[in-house]
Symmetry: C2
Subunit: 124 residues, 2 copies
């Protein structure tokens, strides 16, 4: 399994709500950091507990995977309970064939501001 | 100049407010997409106009650059007028030694929710 496939499989598992199934993809001492809320989950069990208990049902579609050495970046669109999509960008580090670390960012939808509309077109 | 250096130079220019200086790094038909607000800037001039007119002074520090073929991903921390940092993750595509395309996400700071505090530690 390529490093990118590890990450694809992780998101497929999250998409299916299969948190036990993704566990073997992660090192036991997996560490995830969420800089926006200044949170760190230390250990696979804590990371999976947060994901398992996240409110609502999250459907996850991978838009892009970028692989460079031991780093894999994923660009993912997440629809939670049918709400407008949010976007997740995650920087994973792979060690010994498993995911060892992640730094993740969450991009919420927002209204395009009027001040820049003269230079911008609307994405369909 | 490596592909990663193109992106480092772009952010250094934005950090300095030097929008004329970064112009040669971009193709004239550079296209940027901001999926969260469903905005597209078509053409270098429009992209630079939006950045030049962005409210406040933005100081930009690159946290990480990931290079893979023609793709460069940047992870950047931005402090605008001294407010709490926001995070930018940008997926650039390079063509003929210049930046041709970007898909960018913006992560705003937010309060860590109480429901997950039992599995989480605070980042210093």
């Amino acid at each position: 399994m390529s490093k990118g496939d590890l990450v694809r499989k992780l998101w497929a598992g999250f998409d299916a709500g299969d948190f036990d199934g993704v566990s073997p993809l992660l090192h036991e001492d997996f560490v995830a950091e969420w800089p926006q809320s200044r949170e760190r989950m230390r250990g696979r069990a804590n990371f999976l507990a947060v994901n398992r208990n996240y409110p609502g049902v999250s459907r996850c579609s991978v838009r892009r995977i970028v692989e460079a050495g031991d780093v894999v970046v994923s660009e993912v669109e997440i629809v939670n309970d049918g709400k407008p999509p949010i976007f997740a960008v995650s920087f994973f580090e792979v060690r010994e064939g498993r995911l060892a670390r992640a730094v993740e960012y969450w991009g919420e939808p927002y209204e395009a501001p009027a001040w820049r509309s003269q230079w911008v077109e609307k994405l369909s």
